[in-house]
Symmetry: C2
Subunit: 152 residues, 2 copies
């Protein structure tokens, strides 16, 4: 389940550089939290990260893990699996379709494009399990947020 030592080291170096570059303090907690995420390939949630890091940093608080993870997300050092930290949202469209999602305001729009409904499934993926559906998500800036950004 773990990433190769060498790759972890590469990520840690990149991490430290990134913090320095943005003038964000390199604390013991941030180091250990990032190390944990960098070495895990199982997409842990905050609770799991907290438990794992606590073995090495017994006084770490849950709040620190939350704060730190959002800092990392803002910096682009880690990504969120799925879309966002928003609450669950529903989609009454029961035809196959795909999404454009604005990473700023969270707006989501459907679109259909048969070319994307059945992309060729790579061998690697077939070895992971049985694919039932395919979803393409384009992420970016919606019109409104683009305008708003331009007028700042």
């Amino acid at each position: 389940m773990n990433i190769a030592e060498k790759e972890v080291r590469r990520r840690m170096e990149h991490f430290q550089k990134a913090l320095h570059q943005k003038g964000i303090k390199v604390t013991h907690q941030r180091m250990e939290i990032y190390r944990e995420v960098a070495r895990s390939s199982d997409h842990p949630n905050v609770e799991v990260i907290f438990r794992r890091v606590r073995e090495r940093v017994p006084t770490i608080s849950l709040d620190t893990v939350y704060r730190t993870m959002w800092t990392f997300v803002d910096m682009g050092l880690v990504q969120i699996l799925g879309s966002s930290k928003e609450r669950v949202r529903f989609d009454g469209n029961n035809e196959p379709h795909h999404h454009f999602v604005c990473t700023v305001c969270g707006a989501a729009a459907d679109f259909t494009d048969m070319k994307f409904d059945a992309l060729p499934v790579p061998k690697k993926v077939r070895s992971m399990g049985k694919v039932i559906s395919t979803h393409v998500e384009f992420r970016g800036l919606c019109k409104k947020c683009k305008q708003k950004k331009a007028s700042d």
Copy 2:
């Protein structure tokens, strides 16, 4: 922001048939909740659905909306935007990559495939905003869940 009348009617009919078929009672609440989701294209969350439906069914409870929406999801009548109702999960892989997600246990695995990193963006999507990244998600049954299902 709303779906055409005709399409809504089509969805409502399909909805009633689906409930009858599965022997699930067609209640006033379920009708109005589904109608709301079927006519909205803005991917509302539970709170929003609750507020909108309450204008027509003032005594509806939040719990009913939650229960009902999960029923619809289980029946395949509506989909969840993004992956699942799980809490936020993180991904320390900072190279472009894509995911295979098991819809039963939630396990997620990364894979890289440059062919998917820059799929042609349809015109329709370009009109929605500026695309910054592309994410392909294959959903299905992971090996473990497939085996478990086979042995039932």
